[in-house]
Structure formats: C-alpha cells, structure tokens
C-alpha cells in the first residue's frame, strides 16, 4: 500500500541538510506501520514526501497504487494527512471546517453537510460544532483534525505524531479512533517518538535514524534484536558492586553491566532462567550482599533503540504509566 525505494531528499539552503538518505519502506494494506525515531531523524520529511507535499531528489514512491511523482493528484484522492499541528481553519467553527473540507473533496453541499454532522457525532464534537476551532482544547482540535482526514474514507492515512502534546485521555481517544479505522481497512503510517505509542498501535515498526531505516520488525522482534532476556539485580551497598559482579559472572556465565548510580547490575541470561535467578540470589546472600531487588527483564524498546542508533530516544511520554 506504501512503497518507498531509495528516497533521497536534501533541503536547499541552510546547511543543505540531508533529510532522507536511501529511505525504503514497504507497508502492506490494512495495518498500522510505525516510523519510530528521534527529532530530526527524517520521519516528518518521509511523510511529507509520501503525501505529495514535498518533492524529493531521487528514488521512487508509490502510495495506494499511484506514483507520488507522476500521479500526485491520484495519490491525494486516496490519502489523508493529520500532522503534528492541527490542520484546521482556526476562525471557522468545527462544522464549517468539515463542510469546507468536504466541499474541497468535491462533495455536493448537502452531502458535505451530512458528512460533517456524522463526523462531529463520531468524534464527540457535536456540542462544540458551532464554536470556532481556535476556542477548542488541544484534544478537541486534534479530533477535529482527524475527522477532517476521514471525510473521504482514505485508503492510506498518514499520522505525523498525532498525540504529541495531548493529555492521556485525548491520546486514548485518538488511539481508539485509529484502531477503528484500521479495523475498517485503512492503512496507517504513524510517526512517533513515543515508544509506547508505537508499541500500542503498530503491528510493524521501522526505526528511522539519519534519514534511513536502521531496523524493522514487529515490536517484539525489535526487542529481541537486542538478544536474550536479562537478570537485573539492585543491591543496597554501592561498595559491594564489584563483589556482586563477580558473583553474577560466576553464576550466570556472562559479564554484567554495572550502573553505579542505580546500584544495578544486568547480566544476559544464557542458562535456565529460574535456576539462574535462584542460584544468583543464594550466592549473593552467601557473600553477605543485601539484595534490594531482583528480576528478569525483557529489553525495552528504548534500549533496543539505543542499541540500534547509539542514542536514547528524544522523548518518552511523561504519562507513560
């Protein structure tokens, strides 16, 4: 449904930033595909290129069966875009906005009005239909924006960081709307810097860094790309970290990572999980080391990201719990 081959894009002027550098993507129909990456990785540029907003320098892109360069009009008939900033007319009311976009989608006036009312209802905006969009809360505006994207039931929906800056409740509403869309057969390309969002919504994730895809797979695959689960131990006295590391190395058979600030040690699990854990606990107690916490952990997507790009993600959601 979305195919990108070796896309390259260099912005003119300034420092001639290379935004896309051999970007490839192949998204089948009917799924949410996540583009995960830090600010400036090229996610937004990729979305702008694929949605015909931005010309690219070389490569080939096809969206919903139409070539982005040669048939941009066809692409535009089949896609919708909801960007980081609510793309609505601030002066018009919510209803007027939807009617306007319906008319520009070449619906007849009566059909445009009917569709507007349906969407207002569906996104819980009927009560605010007559108010100017500039008086909407952030969440309402984003819902209106999403509603505007759905006037013509797009085959492909681009969601560029759809929940950045939203409170948890509005974020959940947006997520619910996206899930419903996909259930109805729309293909969604979602960009996000929020690991949780990608984990929650996307069936497949491409990790973007410096204008190219550095890894791709299901959220679980990306996590296991880091390797095995690990045994994590937190001890009480930081002066015993060295001793604890020696004990763990003997029991687990690997060299532990040490985080002195957290007094935490991590060692990959290579043998039986439960046996290793009990053996480690016993050995630590015998050595007279007080264990504050012990457990087995799957690597987080954040760690996977760090592993793949050498950097932490720029942001993790504050309200991630």
């Amino acid at each position: 449904m979305i195919v990108a081959e070796e896309l390259r894009k260099r912005y003119r002027g300034g420092h001639g930033t290379i935004a896309l550098d051999g970007f490839r993507l192949d998204v089948p129909a009917g799924i949410v595909h996540g583009l995960l990456g830090p600010n400036g990785a090229g996610k937004t540029t990729a979305v702008r290129v694929l949605s015909t907003l931005l010309a690219f320098d070389s490569g080939r892109a096809e969206v919903a069966g139409a070539d982005v360069t040669r048939q941009p009009g066809l692409v535009r008939e089949r896609i919708a875009l909801t960007g980081q900033y609510a793309a609505v007319d601030e002066l018009l009311s919510g209803r007027q906005n939807l009617i306007l976009f319906g008319r520009l989608h070449h619906l007849r006036p009566r059909d445009a009005r009917r569709r507007a009312d349906e969407l207002l209802e569906r996104f819980d905006l009927t009560g605010a239909a007559g108010r100017s969009a500039k008086d909407y809360s952030g969440g309402m505006r984003r819902r209106l924006d999403l509603a505007a994207s759905l006037i013509r039931r797009p085959q492909v929906l681009f969601l560029d960081e759809p929940t950045s800056g939203l409170d948890p409740r509005s974020r959940n509403q947006v997520w619910a709307a996206v899930r419903k869309l996909v259930a109805d057969g729309t293909t969604v390309l979602l960009t996000t810097q929020y690991l949780e969002e990608a984990d929650q919504l996307a069936e497949r994730i491409s990790v973007v860094d410096a204008g190219r895809i550095v890894a791709e797979g299901t959220p679980d695959q990306l996590k296991s790309a880091l390797g095995a689960d690990r045994l994590e131990v937190v001890i009480r006295e930081s002066d015993r970290l060295g001793d604890a590391a020696a004990v763990l190395a003997r029991v687990a058979g690997g060299r532990p990572d040490i985080d002195p600030d957290q007094r935490r040690l991590r060692v990959p699990l290579t043998r039986d999980r439960v046996e290793t854990l009990t053996a480690a606990l016993r050995a630590l107690q015998e050595a007279g080391i007080t264990v504050a916490d012990i457990g087995i952990h799957q690597p987080t997507l954040d760690e996977a990201f760090l592993h793949l790009t050498g950097r932490h993600t720029a942001a993790t959601p504050v309200e991630a719990a």
Partner: protein, 287 residues
C-alpha cells in the same frame, strides 16, 4: 476501501492507466474550488469582523480628519470643495491598504498546518490564491459601498452619469486585483503573519501620502510633485476625479493628462509582475 490485509502492496487501488493523473482537475474544478475558498475567506469576515472594521476605520478617519480638520486649510487647484476632491482619493487609499489584509490572510494560511491539509487534498492548487483574490474583490465592493455612503453624507457627489460611475468602479476593482496579487506575493514571502504589518504600513503610507490623494502635486516641491504625479495611486485617483466630475484635475502634466490610461496600465503592470511571482513562491512551498 476494503482490501484484505494480506493483499500485495500497491496493487489494491483501482486500476488506472499509468500516465493518467487527475492533477489539478482542470479548469472547471479550479473555478469551483476557488469559489469554495472565496466563501471561506468571506466567512472569516463574518466570524471575525474586527479585522474588516479596522480596515474601515482608517479611511473613515482620514475622511474626517482631512475633510474637517486639515481640509479647511487646503486649497484645490482649479477651485472646488476639498471634500469632493478628497473622496476619490480615499477610495483608492482604501484599496491600497487592503494589501495588508490580503498578505496577512495568506501568511496566516501558509504559516499554519492548514496549508498542508489543502495541499494534500485533491483540490486545485490555484484555489487558495484565486479564492483569496475573489474574496478580496467582494470585500472591496463592501468597502466601496461603505465609503460611498460616508462620502454622500459629507457632501460628495458624482456628476457625470451612471456609465462613468461603473467605469470608476471597474478601475477601483482592477487596482484592488493588482494589489491583491502583490499582497499574495508579500504574504507568501513574509516569514510570519506578524511581519506583514511591519512591511505593509511603511510601504503603503508613503505611497498614499506622496500622491494626489490629500494634496495636489502642484502644491508640492518640484521633484516630490513629479514622484507624486507618476504614483500609481495618483493615476487611479485622477481618473476617478475625471469620471465622477470631481474637482482637482488642474495639472497639465503628461501623467495627469493620461490618467485613464495609467489607471489601467499601472495595475496591469503590477499583475504582470506579481502574478508570476506569487505562483513561483507558491510552488516553492513544495521544495
């Protein structure tokens, strides 16, 4: 859209011949989309009337201040009442200041996310500009109507028949069309809507001051009078005075003698310059 999730990519969309693309959808769609966009801009006027009120207040203030405060000390070459002399110029000045509304409107649109929605929709790309220009002409009609009433109240009249009045109206709308093109270019070039006002006022004020709107060029120092006579604003003002039969066409200089010609030539020149500039700047949004 009812493709199965397992369908191969890029083969699920309705078949289309490889080279066929609806593109901007032809002239008919361009006209209807432009019309819808014009309606959008006019709804803005209704929903946020304070903006147009500001654009009304300025010319009316000028009429009152110059017509009653300074006007008593002004003399009109060739005789005649100062207020009859003033009103045609105020019509023109109002058209000139409209450039600020156009540029701000376009800068607001292109500076926000809404431009991305318009550009990702299957609408004619020209509609944003053609809609704005159409709405500007409708606004101009409203502004002119208010000024006509205002003028009639303080004693201004037209003296030469309806044909001339319509010709004058045509010249005003032609000028507004040209300034609208310039305003679109300015709005597209401006980095943000706030800078528009700081560009427009220093540009528009001298253009209206160094013209024959308030003072006849014959009364100005030599070179300033020449600049004033060749000013596009003066050309339309003089043409209007001729068409309305209002006083103040005393000069026998070339631009004053050929005011009607210049009142057409100047706007056409502005359109020829700023039309393509606007289109170029608009296309640059996708680079």
């Amino acid at each position: 859209m009812t493709t199965s999730p397992t369908a191969a990519p890029a083969t699920t969309a309705p078949a289309t011949t490889a080279s066929h693309d609806p593109g901007n959808g032809g002239l008919r769609r361009a006209v209807s989309d432009g019309w819808v966009m014009a309606g959008r801009y006019l709804r803005h006027v209704v929903r946020a009337p304070e903006e147009i009120v500001i654009y009304f207040t300025l010319p009316i203030m000028f009429v009152l201040v110059f017509g009653y405060v300074f006007g008593s000390g002004m003399s009109v070459p060739g005789g005649g009442g100062y207020r009859e002399f003033l009103i045609p110029g105020v019509f023109v000045m109002t058209m000139l200041y409209g450039i600020g509304a156009t540029a701000t409107g376009i800068a607001v649109d292109t500076g926000r996310g809404v431009i991305d929605r318009f550009r990702s929709m299957p609408m004619a790309r020209s509609a944003l500009i053609s809609g704005r220009v159409t709405a500007d002409l409708a606004r101009a009609l409203l502004e002119i109507a208010v000024l006509v009433v205002c003028g009639l109240l303080i004693g201004w009249r037209w003296h030469l028949g309806l044909g001339n009045v319509l010709a004058a109206l045509g010249l005003l709308l032609l000028l507004r069309l040209a300034l609208s093109c310039a305003g679109v270019a300015l709005g597209l070039a401006a980095p943000n809507p706030d800078t528009v006002a700081t560009i427009v006022f220093p540009l528009a004020f001298p253009l209206s001051a160094v013209s024959n709107v308030f003072v006849a060029p014959e009364m100005m120092p030599g070179w300033l009078g020449t600049v004033s006579e060749w000013n596009p604003i003066s050309a339309t003002t003089t043409a209007l005075r001729e068409l309305f039969g209002n006083p103040g066409i005393g000069s026998d200089s070339w631009p004053a003698e050929h005011a009607l010609l210049l009142a057409v030539a100047w706007p056409v020149a502005l359109i020829v310059i700023f039309g393509p500039v606007s289109v170029r700047l608009y296309r640059r949004l996708g680079q």
